[in-house]
């Protein structure tokens, strides 16, 4: 048996028997459905709020035409009396529309009438409803102005110089993926978390339990030891990641997305592409964790800064969210970022060239091999034994 195979086999058994590490590794994928369902329901809840718009109005009787217009558009009107600001502050009302007392008078005098909306802009859950209310008031204003112009024999188009049109080029799937940008992030996190226990145990753990010296006495190249350990840790990381991927897809296919006006479907081909795109990730994750693990003298020591490694997969997500960039070819060759891009694009049904897969896979695996080599060099230092 080749030494790499011997080490791989031993670490696989050892890892399988480490119930605590195994639990943390697979708790993460198991939570995926809960997370995704939670996310979908939160979104459905928000958008249905916007559909069944309910508006509290002060002094509604002063503007019957406006109120009727809104009711025709399906808005439910409630009357409000009392301290409007306090009610919004206390979150008793999402927002309040206030009709001024001199509304009718100003209307007759052809003066501009302001109808204040009392709201809290720091609340994100009411944003969609609020925008709809503003749109309704604006539409009503347009109608009113048009009627006034027509009464004077002027065409309403006179005051409509330039109007923006609306042509959304995002495919249905792409809009869906912005909804599900969390899913690729979660899959990447799984790759980093599922193999971590074994990666740390087989490096820092060896030092802590003083089993490293007996191991190094064997006539095996340091690189072979590291490779065996790396493959074993990557095996668990890959299983953890792929089960997260599959579970997420199953949940997305069965979630009530039609309530959101989306149809999500995925072909076998897309699933294979996803697996191909993500499979190099576990190898990179564990090689990075092992490199840090070999520096540490104890398990606890290692965990404190390996925890920071899990921030890495959140980087592409953050960049994509806060500073969206145009995808360029070199981005695929950037480890972690490349995998994130591939995932979002495959899920978004964007056709990709084989070059994108090849460059992201090769660069990611190359980096992992390099990190393993570095780790094996660190293992050759005398300080590993004497320190």
């Amino acid at each position: 048996m080749h030494p790499i195979q011997a080490v791989f086999r031993k670490e696989l058994i050892d890892g399988f028997r480490d119930k605590r590490a195994l639990l943390t590794a697979f708790l993460f994928p198991a939570l995926a459905p809960i997370l995704i369902y939670g996310l979908i329901y939160a979104i459905i809840d928000m958008s249905s709020d916007a559909e069944n718009l309910e508006v509290a109005v002060i002094n509604a009787e002063s503007a019957p035409a406006l109120i009727q217009y809104m009711q025709e558009k399906g808005v439910e009107i409630t009357t409000f009396t009392g301290n409007a600001e306090q009610a919004v502050k206390d979150k008793k009302q999402a927002f309040i529309l206030e009709i001024p007392g001199d509304y009718q008078q100003r209307l007759r005098d052809f003066k501009t009438t302001i109808v204040p909306i009392i709201h809290d802009s720091s609340r994100s859950d009411t944003r969609i409803s609020l925008r709809r209310l503003r749109d309704l008031v604006r539409e009503y204003n347009g109608q009113l102005s048009a009627l006034r112009l027509i009464a004077r024999g002027v065409s309403p188009s006179v005051i409509r110089g330039v109007v923006s049109g609306n042509q959304d080029i995002a495919s249905e799937e792409q809009r869906l993926i912005s909804l599900f940008s969390m899913v690729p992030l979660y899959i990447m996190l799984a790759a980093f978390i599922a193999g971590m226990g074994l990666a740390v145990d087989s490096t820092a753990g060896e030092r802590e339990r003083k089993s490293l010296e007996p191991l190094l006495v064997n006539p095996v190249q340091r690189l072979h030891l590291i490779q065996g350990k790396w493959l074993a840790a990557s095996f668990y990381a890959a299983i953890g990641m792929l089960s997260t991927l599959v579970l997420s897809l199953i949940v997305m296919l069965n979630a009530p997305l039609e309530d959101l006006g989306f149809i999500f479907s995925i072909s076998i081909q897309q699933v294979i592409m996803l697996i191909l795109a993500t499979l190099p990730l576990p190898f990179l994750a564990t090689s990075l964790e092992m490199l840090l693990g070999i520096f540490a003298k104890s398990f606890k020591d290692a965990q404190s800064y390996i925890g920071l490694v899990t921030l890495l997969p959140t980087l592409p997500f953050l960049i994509d969210t806060f500073n969206p960039v145009t995808t360029q070819d070199w981005m695929y060759a950037t480890p972690i970022f490349g995998q994130y891009l591939l995932m979002t694009e495959v899920l978004g049904a964007v056709e990709l060239s084989w070059l994108a897969y090849a460059s992201s896979g090769v660069s990611c695996l190359l980096l992992s091999v390099l990190l393993c080599f570095l780790t094996s060099r660190l293992l050759s230092r005398e300080a590993v034994i004497t320190g």
Partner: protein
């Protein structure tokens, strides 16, 4: 056959060993005797290839440990200073893991493992996980995994340290058994009487230097003391001849 030729090793300011030379011959038990911190472990770590000496060389059956580390390590069975085990693996799994790392063929592995388990009298614990093993049981696992590839040379760093009488006796029996098989045995100890009883050849090391070398009788005469313990103390304190 182990030949250590004039090795020195320094850690920063500390000269751990200086110009240490010794030979351990086939079919003999050679004892490396010295007080704690004398440099025994450092010398042995250089011998089994984990530390690189600043000068000097080490040969195992004629193979240079630093030029051909894996080849030399293949000829060595080592019980190092550290005795760590994998708590989730059984005693038998430890032994076969090290056997595989040594390239022992699968068809011989089981038979050799069984033989060692019998030799070390560990049948009752062989298939238990080593988590919770006693000191003596752990030592047996360490010894068995060091011997699985039938090495011609055995190096044991303080093999009886912290063991009860029963296990200590077992370890001594094992050393005598290995001697019968014409194997080179080099072991370190800080226990005088143990070395005196077992060894054919004694090397006394103190403050990183070899201060005396020879049979029990020779050491006594070098120190000019009738009692070996007195001889050891005298030599260790550096006021020998």
């Amino acid at each position: 056959m182990i030949e250590i030729d004039n090795i020195s090793k320094r850690f920063g300011e500390i000269q751990a060993i200086k110009e240490v030379s010794l030979q351990a011959a086939n079919g003999k038990i050679t004892g490396l005797l010295g007080p704690n911190g004398a440099g025994k472990s450092t010398a042995l770590r250089v011998l089994y290839g984990l530390l690189k000496p600043d000068e000097g060389s080490v040969k195992v059956d004629g193979t240079d440990v630093f030029r051909q580390r894996p080849e030399a390590q293949r000829k060595l069975g080592v019980l190092p200073d550290a005795h760590g085990l994998y708590g989730r693996l059984s005693a038998r799994e430890h032994i076969s893991y090290f056997g595989r790392l040594h390239g022992v063929a699968e068809n011989e592995l089981e038979q050799q493992t069984d033989e060692l388990i019998r030799l070390l009298d560990m049948q009752s614990i062989a298939d238990r996980r080593t988590e919770g093993f006693s000191q003596g049981e752990r030592m047996k696992v360490c010894l068995a995994r060091a011997l699985i590839h039938r090495p011609g040379n055995v190096v044991l760093d303080e093999p009886t340290n912290g063991l009860d009488v029963m296990t200590t006796r077992k370890v001594r029996e094992l050393m005598l058994e290995l001697k019968q098989r014409n194997i080179t045995i080099l072991f370190s100890s800080h226990l005088m009487h143990e070395v005196a009883r077992l060894c054919d050849e004694i090397i006394i090391i103190t403050s990183g230097k070899v201060v005396a070398q020879g049979t029990t009788a020779e050491i006594r005469s070098i120190a000019g003391e009738d009692n070996l313990e007195d001889a050891f103390v005298r030599l260790s304190e550096g006021d020998g001849p």
